[in-house]
């Protein structure tokens, strides 16, 4: 596994130094670009100045002035030679053209290109002075006649300036050349600067590229480091998941393995219970049974939790009577609640449908868990289960199963941890109340599997309220099923069978043998599949009960082999036995040709029912309608108890109907006679527990009524109730005789029946 150091070592953060470098280079590059831009702009401006303002070449302008001066001189000379044919127009044109050239050499005009010199300003001033004088003869409005004197004077003035104008032209030429040279130098200089900047830029770009490459490499390195990290994390996760899977499988296997020997313990305890026992032994046996049951509950929790975690748990919803389910929950919880002196109340609102589509087993599991917790954490007061509609539609009502108690309650932080695995209220409650801490997690997971959830409200000291919210589709109430005959009665319809019992575990074998013998069957035991195949080949058996997991030849192979034996032996019913109740196992058993499946620990009624499916005879004439008046209901009798020990059932019934003062019924009658409500209520409670387990419906109802009476009503009705209880006990006794549950007086003891 990776240490935190290893994981944290990867240099994921970019060093700040590099960042600063990059910014610096970007800044310098920008500055270089700006410099190059400035130089280019400067060059463009230089070029523009030459293009825009040199349209009339300056040097050309200077020479033009000289040229036109000479042409004007010639024109004046011509005119002087022949004053009579003076071509004034031509002379005028020459003069005007000469004047038009002058503005082009004025200092303002050339200032853009080079600084003016005294030679220029002086000369221009002289030229202007000449024009001012000449305009008197040749201007737009000549004031004096252009005679020979004037012509001579004008010619002389021009001649006096000619050399100076020539010098000016030369000076202009020089100045322009100097200016051009200066410009060229500037351009060259700027070119050098631009070249330098370009080189600098190139250098920076190279540096930049190097840094980028380094960065990319570093990035690649980071990427690889990240990839490695991700890889390590992935494999760590896989390891963790594998460990978790192993743990889950281990838990499932362990709980499963534990259940196998446990079956033996429970079975043997059950068989012990109806032997001749001293009261002390009975008490010890009860304690042992309770402990074993508790242990089995814990094992079941662990198995459920691992099944849920593995995602193997499936729901089997089917139409379920809520009324009956709630009755069952109440009757199971009542003994523990009343044992702690708690009032237990189960109410169902009128608008809650009677029949819903639900996995009854799992729904009961949740309710048992919630109510079991409520009872566990409540020392006085009451535990209440109310069922009401909290929304949804008529066809798909949202049902709220609320379990409230008046117990110790919980702190807010406790509630937060409540649904977590292995968590109980806190360390102290764990020590005080015991348990796996898996119950609530399982319940909530099942609730979520059903599409619902469980939430909780609680205040320390003020009790808790757990609410299961789940949508259960309403179904039309089914016709009440015909009262299933009590397994005790059913057994008598299965003929004595010759059973081949295969199991490698001696405790299981002993348990099964005891159970089967008790049902009146004969048993041959085999310890592995090989023996079983040989035994089956003898062809003397009615049915094979086959454990699936055995050394050498396992149950699957043995079943396959038996199916290959010659008919009719090959058609013998084979029932698989396995503590492994996964659907996959059942399907595998079916595939190899096994006919049925019994989950270990094998419950006596399940075994009876299973055998009856193969071998039940048509029912003998009913021993009178069980009980039209509803005094007794065989389906409500404690099936396991009755199935395992029909004789015991009869004994218990006989004991129940004993009218001695010491029996519970006798106690109740005497308390009613003396109108002692407190004791009557306790007695009624005891009677109800027994009556409920024995399937004595009417009496159970009556006891419930007595328990719920208020003080005033009790005093008024005590005498009336005394008579009612006495009559009902008598009527129920008769009904039991009619149903064949107990022998009529002087009849043979049913225990001796095969």
């Amino acid at each position: 596994m990776n240490s935190p150091d290893e994981l944290g070592d990867a240099p994921l953060a970019r060093p700040p130094n590099t960042k600063r470098w990059i910014w610096l280079i970007v800044a310098i590059l920008l500055a270089a670009f700006a410099g190059v831009g400035a130089v280019q702009w400067q060059q463009l401006r230089l070029l523009n100045s030459t293009v825009l303002y040199e349209s009339d070449n300056i040097v050309w302008s200077f020479y033009q002035v000289e040229h036109e001066l000479i042409r004007l001189q010639h024109a004046l000379a011509d005119a002087r030679r022949d004053p009579d044919h003076l071509d004034r127009e031509s002379l005028q044109l020459r003069y005007d053209v000469f004047v038009s050239r002058l503005p082009h050499i004025e200092p303002e005009r050339t200032a853009r290109h080079f600084a003016s010199a005294p030679i220029q300003t002086e000369m221009v001033a002289r030229l202007h002075a000449f024009v001012a004088d000449a305009d008197a003869y040749l201007g737009p409005t000549p004031a004096q006649a252009l005679d020979a004197t004037a012509l001579r004077w004008l010619g002389g003035r021009l001649e006096s300036m000619r050399q100076a104008v020539h010098d000016l032209a030369l000076w202009g030429n020089e100045a322009v050349a100097a200016q051009a040279a200066a410009r060229n130098t500037a351009v060259r200089q700027q070119n050098r600067i631009a070249l330098g900047l370009a080189l600098f830029q190139a250098l920076l770009t190279i540096v930049f590229a190097v840094i980028v490459v380094r960065q990319l490499r570093a990035l690649e390195g980071h990427g690889q480091a990240l990839e490695q990290l991700a890889h390590r994390l992935r494999s760590a996760r896989n390891d963790a998941e594998a460990a978790s899977r192993t743990k889950t499988a281990f838990l499932a296997n362990m709980s499963h393995e534990l259940r196998t020997p446990f079956q033996g313990v429970l079975g043997m305890l059950a068989l012990l219970r109806h032997g001749p026992l001293t009261p002390q032994q009975s008490a010890q046996l009860r304690t042992a049974t309770e402990s074993a049951n508790h242990l089995l509950g814990l094992l079941n929790d662990v198995l459920d939790a691992s099944t849920l975690e593995g995602g193997h748990l499936r729901l089997f919803p089917q139409p379920t009577s809520l009324a009956r389910l709630l009755d069952e929950v109440e009757s199971v919880m009542s003994s523990s609640a009343h044992g702690k002196g708690l009032a237990l109340k189960v109410t169902r609102a009128a608008d809650v449908p009677d029949t819903v589509e639900a996995d009854a087993k799992r729904l009961k599991q949740i309710l048992f868990n919630l109510m079991g917790n409520a009872v566990k954490f409540t020392d006085r007061g009451s535990v209440t289960l109310t069922v009401e509609v909290g929304g949804g539609t008529a066809l798909r009502p949202l049902l709220l199963f609320q379990v409230s108690d008046t117990g110790i309650g919980m702190q807010r932080e406790t509630i937060g941890r409540l649904f977590q695995r292995f968590s109980q209220g806190d360390e102290s409650t764990s020590r005080r109340f015991g348990g796996t801490g898996l119950g609530l997690e399982i319940s909530r997971n099942i609730a979520q599997l059903m599409g619902g959830d469980i939430d909780v409200e609680s205040l320390p000291g003020a009790g808790s309220r757990f609410t299961l919210r789940v949508v259960l589709p309403a179904r039309a109430p089914e016709a009440p099923p015909p009262p299933a005959p009590a397994p005790a009665l059913q057994l008598s319809h299965t003929p004595a069978l010759h059973v081949l019992m295969v199991d490698d575990h001696p405790v299981n074998r002993d348990y099964m043998r005891a159970l089967l013998t008790h049902f009146g069957h004969t048993v041959r035991q085999c310890t592995n599949g090989r023996e079983a195949i040989d035994a089956a080949a003898e062809g003397v058996f009615d049915v094979v009960l086959m454990d699936l997991h055995m050394p050498q030849v396992d149950g699957f192979d043995a079943a396959r082999a038996i199916r290959k034996l010659p008919a009719p032996i090959s058609r013998i019913p084979i029932v698989a036995l396995s503590a492994d109740a996964f659907r996959e196992t059942r399907e595998a058993a079916q595939r190899v040709g096994m006919n049925d499946f019994l989950a270990k620990p094998v419950q006596p009624p399940d075994l009876a029912e299973c055998l009856a499916r193969f071998f039940a005879r048509p029912a003998p004439p009913a021993p009178a309608a069980p009980d039209p008046a509803g005094h007794i209901d065989p389906s409500r009798a404690d099936a396991a108890f009755a199935a395992l020990a029909p004789g015991l059932h009869a004994k218990m019934l006989a004991c129940f109907f004993d009218d001695e003062e010491s029996s519970a019924v006798g106690m109740l009658l005497s308390c009613l006679a003396s109108a002692d409500q407190t004791r009557a209520r306790a007695a009624a409670h005891a009677v109800r527990g027994a009556a409920s387990n024995l399937g004595l419906t009417r009496l159970t109802e009556t006891m419930r009524a007595i328990e719920s009476l208020d003080a005033a009503s009790f005093v008024v009705r005590a005498a009336e109730l005394h008579a009612q209880v006495r009559d009902e006990v008598s009527a129920t006794h008769d009904a039991c005789i009619r149903a064949g549950w107990i022998a009529p007086p002087a009849a043979p003891d049913p225990v001796n029946r095969p």
């Binding site: 293009v51 825009l52 303002y53 349209s55 009339d56 036109e68 005007d96 053209v97 038009s100 737009p140």
Partner: protein, 166 residues
């Protein structure tokens, strides 16, 4: 912008005149002093204009910066292509000759590509010879940056006197 629109508005009637009536007959022979001569070189045919004839042609006016004046000025005169059409000459190359014997070439295509005018008014006033007049070839420099170059500045002859057409 203003000048461009005005240019367009004035071009339309000019084109109409060009197509509807032959200019030569409408303008008549020069009555005043000849200020512009168009010479068709191969045939040696000459066509003289006095100021009145140029005035009669459709006038174009625009304001533009030039290398010869410190600020922008407004120039007015007929389009060079109208002047050539009025003279009834055709060719591919022009040769502009100024009073001081300055000579410069100009492709005829310039006259169609650009609204080159033969300016006779500067800011609404006739130009004297000493003010680069009386005629000045002006391109609308400000309307097109291509025109702001030495190539076109040199073709802008001032003191224009003669145009030879080849």
């Amino acid at each position: 912008m203003m000048s461009t629109r005005r240019t367009l508005l004035q071009t339309l009637p000019a084109l109409a005149l060009l197509t509807v009536a032959p200019m030569t007959s409408a303008l008549g022979p020069p009555s005043g002093r000849v200020i512009l001569t168009i010479e068709s070189k191969p045939g040696g045919r000459k066509f003289d204009f006095d100021m009145a004839m140029l005035e009669k042609l459709p006038q174009r006016s625009f304001t533009t910066n030039t290398p010869w004046f410190p600020a922008h000025r407004t120039f007015t005169g007929p389009l060079l292509r109208d002047v050539l059409a009025a003279a009834g000459v055709s060719g591919t190359q022009l040769r502009l000759i100024a009073l001081n014997d300055f000579k410069v070439g100009m492709p005829v295509s310039d006259t169609t590509k650009f609204d080159v005018i033969v300016a006779r008014l500067l800011d609404g006033q006739p130009m004297a010879v000493r003010d680069k007049g009386p005629l000045f070839v002006i391109y609308p420099y400000d309307s097109n940056t291509e025109l702001q170059s030495e190539r076109y500045f040199i073709r802008s002859a001032w003191q224009l006197r003669t145009i030879e057409v080849q």
